[in-house]
């Protein structure tokens, strides 16, 4: 399947600084249509479409909205998660840069459906250069009356990967440390300021106007049985043409990285970001979907020259630095993994190291508080499964070199 540009159709075509150029391409027609429907009808349409969260977790969007709509209380919040910190992910940046109006239209529809009067766009500090353009787009839409009674505010982050996790993000908006929360309660019931809250990723919200405008039946015709629609993929690493590509869900990973992005002599591909699954070259023709591999849509390509242990070590250092520190399995687990992997990298590994990594992986996966710790061991477990020989070689070399030193002493 070649590229299929639905979400990206206006990118490069419209002027992101001028709402009338978006209107000229049919912008805000979906909002008009949505306002002619009841909020329940809008939610039903999104629910039927099969749209699932595009930030990585893949929760059904319409079902989430319904929970918030049905929640008790007269104050509901809408949050757009634009804290795109996942390693290798830059699609939300691309959307905000080239077509902020689609996002705003998606938020206006969502706000109408769930009955939110206040909306936040949580923009990561690293994207400060997008702030002015986004604020300008919001004020133009407001001036035209597109926001209705939805008060939309941009809240900037301050440098933290974990704030992309929804409960940490809410703590950050509340002026606290961005630490994950215990759940339940889940945000649609009790989220920001303990009120019903919907948090959706930028890309998820950008899907909404297309679903409303073209109908859920049209949307259901795209993708696979479990994964409807298209997905933005961010290809980076050892490729000739890195960038954002939009493909129908269920598309072939090999086609994306080889035909579109120009990868050659692939050793492996990591799909979904720092804690994404590892696909060795022999399995590169895997379909990209929720039921197989997807995550945030980050696709990092490693060619045959790359060292597996170096990569896993660097990834674990990242997760260790960005762990919020609230729960022990993640805080201490990533710490120990960095220590063990660091030993392997420096040629000081011992034979027990692989067993330690495996045992720790199980504990972290089972007992961590949030997605970070629960998935932190994936790159370790996957590389141990597919590239075990590299671990074994590294350790046996270390053992051999140490024995030589002992002889020479």
């Amino acid at each position: 399947m070649p590229e299929k540009r639905i979400l990206l159709k206006d990118c490069g075509k419209i002027d992101p600084g001028d709402v009338s150029s978006y209107e000229a391409e049919g912008g805000f027609k979906a909002l008009e249509k949505a306002r002619g429907m009841s909020p329940e009808e809008v939610i039903a349409e999104v629910k039927t479409s099969g749209l699932r969260g595009r930030g990585g977790a893949g929760f059904p969007c319409g079902a989430k909205w319904e929970l918030a709509r049905n929640a008790q209380g007269n104050e509901t919040y809408l949050i757009c998660n634009a804290d795109e910190g996942e390693v290798g992910t830059f699609k939300d940046r691309y959307l905000i840069q080239h077509d902020p109006f689609s996002l705003i239209e998606g938020m206006a529809i969502s706000g109408y459906a769930i009955g939110a009067k206040k909306g936040y766009i949580y923009l990561r500090a690293e994207y400060h250069y997008l702030l002015e353009g986004l604020a300008n787009a919001i004020s133009q839409c407001k001036g035209k009356g597109y926001l209705g009674d939805l008060d939309l505010e941009i809240q900037e982050g301050a440098g933290s990967y974990i704030c992309g996790e929804e409960s940490a993000l809410m703590n950050s908006i509340e002026g606290k440390r961005g630490e994950a929360r215990y759940r339940p309660p889940f945000p649609p019931e009790s989220g920001l300021f303990e009120k019903p809250t919907i948090i959706n990723n930028v890309e998820t919200l950008v899907n909404v106007p297309h679903i409303i405008e073209n109908g859920s039946a049209w949307y259901q015709g795209l993708g696979t049985s479990e994964s409807k629609g298209t997905k933005l993929f961010c290809v980076s690493g050892d490729v000739e043409r890195p960038g954002v590509y939009e493909m129908e869900l269920g598309s072939d990973l090999g086609e994306l990285v080889m035909d579109l992005a120009g990868a050659r002599e692939i050793k492996m591909v990591q799909v979904g970001g720092s804690t994404g699954r590892i696909i060795p070259s022999g399995m590169v023709h895997t379909p990209l979907a929720y039921e197989t591999v997807l995550g945030s849509g980050a696709v990092m390509v490693f060619d045959e020259s790359r060292d597996i242990i170096d990569f896993v070590y660097r990834t674990m250092q990242f997760l260790n630095e960005e762990s919020c520190g609230k729960c022990a399995p993640c805080r201490e687990g990533t710490e120990v993994m960095v220590e063990v992997l660091g030993r392997l990298v420096q040629g000081e590994g011992v034979e027990e190291d692989m067993g330690v990594l495996e045992e720790l992986s199980g504990v972290m996966t089972l007992s961590s508080l949030c997605g970070l710790g629960q998935t932190a061991a994936i790159p370790v477990m996957d590389t141990l499964a597919y590239f075990r020989k590299e671990y074994e070689n590294r350790i046996s070399q270390s053992v051999f070199l140490r024995s030589l030193k002992a002889v020479n002493r």
């Binding site: 830059f90 939300d92 500090a125 994207y127 002026g175 961005g178 690493g237 050892d238």
Partner: protein, 136 residues
């Protein structure tokens, strides 16, 4: 002042003085009726906030995997050499603070860095020298 204004207040304090001072934290703690430790806890949680004085410009080069694959480590070494300081340090003239940072979402232009709020991608040693020279 409300608690949810805290993050923005801390940022303002940093923008004014170049770092978040103990006095500023004490003031905010008093305004919110919180122990100063809470304000310190928030400030030190976020990597863009600092209780140590920062230079006039902050160079943050990405060390995450996609930039690493495009020789990001060499670029970081070039910056170290150009500025004569290591990561986490500030030049004696107070011009630059140099930091290694995690993914900045510019992987399609790797290797990439942020100088203050601007992103610079497809870095080469020559390009880095040119960029650094453009800051006073």
């Amino acid at each position: 002042m409300e608690r949810n204004e805290l993050l923005n207040r801390i940022k303002e304090a940093q923008a004014k003085k170049g770092s978040v001072s103990e006095e500023a934290m004490a003031e905010m703690a008093q305004a919110l009726g919180l122990p100063i430790g809470d304000i310190y806890g928030v400030t030190t949680f976020y990597s863009f906030l600092s209780t140590q004085p920062l230079g006039r410009h902050v160079v943050r080069i990405c060390k995450s995997v996609p930039c690493f694959l495009q020789d990001g480590e060499t670029m970081a070494e070039v910056i170290e050499k150009e500025l004569g300081i290591g990561p986490g340090e500030t030049t004696a003239d107070g011009r630059f603070t140099f930091e290694l940072t995690n993914c900045i979402g510019a992987c399609d232009q790797a290797p990439a860095m942020l100088v203050d709020d601007e992103v610079y991608g497809d870095l080469t040693p020559d390009k880095i020298r040119e960029i650094l020279q453009s800051f006073d």
